[in-house]
Amino acid sequence: MNRRRFVRNMCLGGIATFGFPIVNFAQVKQRGRFVFVLLRGGFDGLAAVVPYGDPAYRSLRSGFAYDESDLTVLNDMFGLAPGLAPLRDLWQRDELAVIHAMAIPYRTRSHFDGQAILETGIDRPVGSSDGWLNRLLQVMTGDRSGIAIASGMPRSLTGPFEVQTWSPTQLGTVSDEYLGRLAVLYRTDAALYGRFESAMQQQDLVGEEPMAGGGARRGGITPLLQAAARILKQEDGPNIAAVEFSGWDTHANQGLAGGALDRLLGQLAEGLVAFRTEMAGAWSNTTVVVMTEFGRTARPNGTRGTDHGTAGAGFVLGPQVAKSIVLSDWPGLSDAALFEGRDLKPTLDTRAVLKGAVGGTFDLTPAQLDRIFPASSGVRGAFELMK
């Protein structure tokens, strides 16, 4: 049996208690959608969003400083690295806010602590706290659900609100007959049947096409973001998603255009553009935020890379962005301006950006935002980012 038909049959015959009911266009609702893309490893903001206009930039980054002509120029201070060139289109459509000199609210150069702070949305490492996306789901009202597009449940989504996960499996290796028989078995189990059915349906939505090429399924972020789009664009599907992209811990040989880091940036930009394309009409109320746990040292290290630093860059994308801007209270790159003499100084709190982005996407009140980000009442949301 063809899987698509198989899933339809299962839905019609079964009890759709979990996951997505069949699309019913008579009930289309306008719902915000939000995707949090976490770049794990500490992404080098100075190499991605290049402050070519800062007088100290060239000497500070000697060895791998970009020329203005290499960049997608955003304004007279900043330009996007060559790998990020595909984002030019979003910039021109007023769908891209570039954030710089942003950092988590706690000073650490530990991946573990940094990611914990970013993902829990609190201001210091507390071992057991839940993720801020899960609190967002708890605080929101109405129809909403979350999904992790990741090989493990990211901390940002953990918590009492039940969320789904999706990761590229190699289900191509199992037959539809096998899945059909499993479905018969699962029908006898009221607690699990809805979940199994939902899994089949998710798999059906994601389809095979974007994963063509077998191995490509597990590599790069483009297939993940395309899969995310196929799931998120369903009416009544999940509308909060967390996506992860690792490999940013560039201690050595970052390179320039075409180098190791630039290729990663290229994957990121292409993935974001592919996500936008795949979302089609559903893009109109979708916001994507891209962040990392920390920026990297302002100066290169001895192995033509950079070490763990402090402030860095991030992105907010989507039609709900007020207009394309670089949001930054730029601290400068002079020796005196650097944080502890080595890192870009933080002038903007990640939570201010997140409050602005989710607040604008879902029309949340300041009180709701303070529940999502505890102990952040002193951090003003960057609401000007969004329409």
């Binding site: 573990f112 057991s128 990761s167 037959s175 028989r181 499993l182 199994f196 899994a199």
Partner: protein, 469 residues
């Protein structure tokens, strides 16, 4: 409900084919496993104390070297973790006292460390389970707690090894030589109260956490060589140089460094601890182990693990009483779990975590844990000793039975079954390891010769009956 299958799967780690017929008295079979000490697990050859210490010191020394040297040194740490994981998983897959191994896994997760958090934890996590947890699972909770508190894995994982009393002598000359000034780290103190003993609502305050952190200053790790926060530190003006004892060749272990210990008396949970060096912390930890909130917190967690995601109140009460009345005698506590009526109620089911599921697959076929098991556990999002937070892994259905995970199991079951093809197993024998009524379609599928035998095996392993314990 079949009580033998429940004993094998709920309290044990999954039935072997044929095993149910060898057990006449399920509760007696479980109680018998609790007799005698916990089974020892010897260190793998790659993970002797000397090997661990050497690998860690080399890793720290390689910090200065080139990237290749660093990667090689890191590789050794990861290899130790892999050897330890393999040993621990083999014990779970092959043990004849599966109830005791389940207790090891439970307590190891309750007082968890995580190899994902800090690379230095990786080579220590296995020895942590072997040395701090395993010997005490049929002993006293307070001894386990104290062994955990003093194990280098925990001291590193929750940062206590670098916590310095603000008024300690050590604090006066930290910060020299341009090092970042270090001070009190309350991470372990907080988790000790919140996650290991009283529980988040157990009745302690931020002041208690701070005071406890002060009590625990000086609890640090020796043998890390390039580690000690005080290494090479020299006091300011006119004091004699103070050398922190550093054992550059010995094994890695607990050390109490008076120099880093916050002087003076401290008060935690209303008890005053006069200045008494390491004994302050030892007394405090034993007191937390006997705190009434701890009995309830731990009992709730145990009943959640062994009975139901929503633990029945009367069961929690009973285990709480036993824990309290025996001052945390974990053999008595394990015994009372077997006696709980709710544990045998067929309406109350526990969903197998990925580790439970994979071990049960291995046990069904009397297979050993191969080196493939760790990657499979990663794919199932449940690698050994790698929780995302000090809270440990959860064990409720909502944490593990998401649609994607069910598909993952379906896929893996198919792969495992294909690998077993050579063994020519009759798929019907798998009805031995699950509890399904005669009307269940699994009976029909397993007997259906028109379906390939390996697919039938996969259906048994991926079907709903095998997902519960």
């Amino acid at each position: 409900m079949n009580a033998t299958i429940r004993a094998l799967n709920r309290f044990g780690l999954g039935a072997h084919v044929g095993e149910r017929r060898r057990i006449d008295d399920p509760k007696g079979w479980l109680r018998a496993q609790l007799q005698g000490g916990a089974p020892e697990l010897r260190a793998p050859l790659e993970a002797t104390p000397a090997a661990i210490a050497a690998a860690i010191r080399d890793f720290r020394a390689a910090g200065q070297g080139d990237q290749q040297a660093r990667q090689q040194a890191r590789r050794r740490l990861v290899d130790i973790a892999a050897a330890e994981s393999h040993a621990a998983l083999t014990a779970r897959a092959t043990t004849e006292r599966p109830f005791v191994e389940r207790l090891v896994a439970f307590w190891s997760n309750h007082l968890c460390v995580s190899v994902g958090a800090k690379v230095l934890v990786a080579p220590l996590a296995g020895s942590y389970e072997r040395e701090a947890i395993r010997p005490h699972v049929l002993g006293r909770f307070e001894d386990m707690l104290l062994a955990s508190a003093k194990h280098p894995a925990m001291l590193v994982y929750l940062d206590n090894f670098q916590s310095i009393g603000p008024a300690s002598r050590g604090a006066q000359f930290s910060g020299v030589r341009g090092q970042q000034r270090r001070g009190l780290n309350e991470n372990y103190a907080r988790e000790l109260l919140e996650l290991h003993t009283l529980g988040v609502d157990g009745g302690y305050t931020q002041q208690d956490v701070l005071q406890l952190a002060r009590i625990l200053t000086g609890w640090t790790v020796t043998g890390l060589a390039r580690s000690g926060p005080m290494q090479n530190a020299r006091p300011r003006a006119r004091r004699r140089p103070v050398q922190v004892r550093q054992d550059a060749n010995g094994t890695i272990g607990f050390a109490f460094q008076e120099l880093l210990h916050e002087p003076g008396s401290k008060t935690v949970l209303g008890t005053k601890y006069g200045e008494d060096g390491v004994e302050e912390g030892e007394r405090a930890i034993r007191a937390f182990a006997r705190h009434p909130s701890t009995a309830r917190f731990v009992a709730t967690k145990l009943v959640t693990h062994f009975v139901a995601d929503d633990p029945p109140a009367q069961a929690v009460d009973r285990v709480t009483r036993t824990f309290r009345d025996t001052d945390g005698d974990l053999r008595a506590v394990a015994t009372v779990l077997v006696d709980l009526q709710d544990a045998w109620d067929e309406r109350l089911r526990k969903f197998r975590t990925p580790q439970d599921w994979l071990i049960a697959v291995l046990r069904a076929f009397n297979a050993e844990a191969s080196e493939n098991v760790m990657p499979l556990l990663r794919q199932l999002r449940h690698p050994l000793w790698s929780p995302q937070s000090p809270k440990g892994f959860g064990d409720k259905v909502q944490e593990w039975a998401d649609p994607d995970s069910l598909l993952n199991r379906a896929e893996l079951a198919r792969t495992v079954a294909r690998r077993l093809r050579a063994q020519r197993i009759d798929p019907r024998t798998l009805l031995d390891v699950v509890d399904v009524p005669a009307s269940d379609p699994l009976n029909k599928f397993l007997a259906d010769n028109s379906i390939a035998a390996d697919e039938r095996i996969a259906l048994a392993l991926a079907g709903p009956a095998f997902q519960w314990r």
